[in-house]
């Protein structure tokens, strides 16, 4: 199938251009540093010199882990945008696409192949970093988040959503422009999610609805919140999450995304990929 050929080509390009190697080296360094930090956390004591109880240590670890995963989520989103933004536009501009599109393959197959290859890269990156980070955290603090697989799925989903958006824009605009637009929208969605939660706390339907709309238009923030939910110990939510003041906090989540929202996100991705294929199909080469 031609789409799989394009997908393999996309992954091979990432490997040949040393993208995977660079990410792997940097990830190992960062995880090494965070491992040192988590190890240091276990040596902290109360002001009177008594050791911190393991429950409190796990709570603190879970919060620091949320921050670390937030960093990885940011790196993932930025990397996904940087790789996806020129994925189609650069090949159209350079002429690489000319000889390939003259072959008996449809532009739908090209888009599907690119998307599959990039999605596979995202899943590989998320699976690798999550497994390594959680292993280091487990070894240093004995803390294991409640649902690590769910965490990886939400993070992958977030990366795939922003990558899909960048790929769509890449069919019409240069890589640089597509990248800037995608990142601005990504951060707007993040702020929109926070604003929506604040609107919920203060009973402002207008702000709450604006947040909901931003999450529907670009579901990245809601997926990030899903990954936070998967990282939080149940105890943390029941004891500390009862106060409504925490609802606007992007690093605390009371409930996971609804099944309806996840269904919408799936439809969003399918729709964007279809729109990308249509956009490339209509484009003059």
């Amino acid at each position: 199938m031609a789409a799989l050929t394009i997908a393999r080509l996309t992954i091979r390009e990432a490997a040949r251009r040393k993208l995977l190697l660079a990410l792997a080296i940097l990830t190992v360094i960062v995880i090494g540093l965070t491992g040192w930090g988590f190890q240091h956390l276990t040596t902290l004591t109360n002001p009177d010199g008594t050791p911190i109880p393991s429950t409190e240590l796990h709570l603190a670890t879970s919060q620091v882990l949320v921050l670390v995963e937030f960093m990885f989520s940011g790196v993932l989103a930025l990397s996904a945008v940087v790789v996806a933004s020129p994925a189609i536009s650069s090949e159209l501009e350079s002429g690489v696409a000319l000889s390939m599109l003259a072959r008996p393959l449809s532009r739908y197959q090209v888009v599907l192949g690119k998307w599959l290859g990039l999605a596979a890269l995202i899943v590989i990156y998320v699976a690798g970093t999550t497994a390594l980070e959680l292993t280091v955290v487990g070894l240093t603090t004995s803390y294991v988040p409640p649902r690590p697989v769910g965490l990886a799925l939400y993070l992958s989903g977030e990366g795939i959503v922003v990558m899909s958006l960048a790929l769509l824009i890449s069919t019409r605009l240069s890589g640089m422009t597509a990248g800037v637009i995608s990142l601005v929208l990504f951060f707007l969605a993040w702020i929109g999610g926070i604003a929506g939660a604040i609107g919920d706390v203060f009973g402002s339907n207008a702000i709450k609805n604006a947040g909901t709309i931003s999450q529907l238009l670009l579901p990245t923030d809601a997926l990030w919140r899903g990954s936070v939910y998967e990282l939080e110990p149940v105890l943390y939510r029941t004891v500390l999450g009862a106060t409504t003041e925490r609802a606007g906090n992007p690093f605390f989540v009371q409930s996971p995304p609804s099944a309806a929202f996840l269904g919408w996100t799936l439809c969003w991705v399918v729709g964007i990929v279809a729109l990308t294929a249509w956009s490339l199909h209509r484009r003059e080469v």
Binding site: L9, S94, G95, V96, L98, S99, M100, A102, R103, P104
Partner: protein, 317 residues
């Protein structure tokens, strides 16, 4: 226009390309204005024109890379852009670029896969293409290390994969040295010998003159002339160095074609080659002394420029 009136649709067997009033507009700009032509299977067809005349636009329409504003086109008997037909077409773009992070053999392997070449045939196809274009010693070198000329050779190799029935070459020698150009001409002749049609898009007139069976001259998206090269170039003429030419001799020359005199040379346009001995005999019989007789043949470049001048003069009127 030697080929005469517009050919009727639909295409008939034996045709590699047929277009009928093919037009392409980009907004208010007209890239192609009613292109009508036929390219037969097994012939080398030159598509000539100055920069911006619509040559590359025509190629992109034939390959389905771009959609026509009007008119129709068929490639190998099927509507232009038909996906299955593209399996039987090889293409070297004018703006050639291949994945620099792949080796030459990997690029060819990729195109074997995309062109639907049977897996078992890949090794022979790849090594054959590399040998044909003179890159067999660079099979494993990354394309990003290639010179522009080597990349163009690779592009030619890519176009030859899968035994195409039609090969479209868009300025195939723009980056090649004289040896590379000669090699390309040899490859094109081999393609013709095995019955493959070659659509050669070029503004290098000498190249076209050497290898093309037929040609079309286009300007501003219009066909100015189309036909066999000898038809396009006309019957030529003869020039003579003479002394003692009297009125009888001058009348004999003028009867054969348009007569012009320049620094002792008398040039008669439009004289068929087999009539030259008879003409010389008449001039000698009239009392003139003949020192030299040379055939005059219009070059493709002269014909090309004359066509463009005529077209521009027509627009000025």
């Amino acid at each position: 226009m030697p080929d005469g009136a517009a050919p009727p649709a639909p295409p008939v067997d034996g045709e590699a390309v047929r277009t009928l009033e093919l037009t392409k507009h980009y907004g208010a700009s007209v890239a192609l204005a009613g292109l009508t032509m036929v390219v037969q299977r097994g012939e080398v067809f030159g598509f000539l024109g100055p920069n911006g005349s619509g040559k590359t636009t025509a190629v992109k329409l034939l390959l389905g890379l771009s959609r026509p504003t009007g008119g129709e086109a068929w490639v190998l008997g099927r509507p232009a852009g038909d996906r299955a037909t593209r399996r039987r077409v090889g293409y070297l773009p004018e703006l050639f670029r291949y994945q620099g992070w792949l080796s030459a053999a990997e690029v060819l392997g990729l195109h074997c896969r995309l062109a639907g070449v049977a897996r078992a045939d890949w090794p022979a196809q790849i090594s054959g293409a590399l040998t044909t274009v003179g890159l067999s010693g660079h099979a494993d070198a990354r394309v990003e290390t290639f010179s522009k000329g080597m990349q163009q050779r690779l592009g030619l190799g890519v176009a030859l994969l899968g035994h195409p029935e039609l090969v479209i070459l868009d300025e195939p020698t723009s980056a090649l040295d004289p040896v590379g150009r000669a090699d390309t001409r040899t490859i094109i002749r081999h393609l013709r010998d095995r019955g493959c049609a070659v659509f050669l898009n070029s503004h290098l007139l000498g190249e076209v003159e050497q290898i093309c069976d037929r040609a079309a001259v286009v300007s501003d998206g219009r066909v100015l002339a189309i036909g066999r090269l000898d038809e396009l170039l006309g019957t030529g003429g003869v020039r003579m160095r003479l002394t003692g030419l009297n009125e009888t001799g001058r009348a004999a020359l003028a009867r054969r074609g348009a007569l012009a005199e320049h620094e002792g040379w008398f040039v008669v346009d439009g004289v068929e080659a087999d009539l030259v001995p008879e003409l010389v005999a008449e001039v000698v019989a009239s009392g003139a002394r003949v020192y030299a007789v040379e055939p005059v043949r219009q070059t493709l470049e002269e014909r090309f420029l004359a066509l463009l001048d005529a077209e521009h003069a027509r627009w000025r009127r």
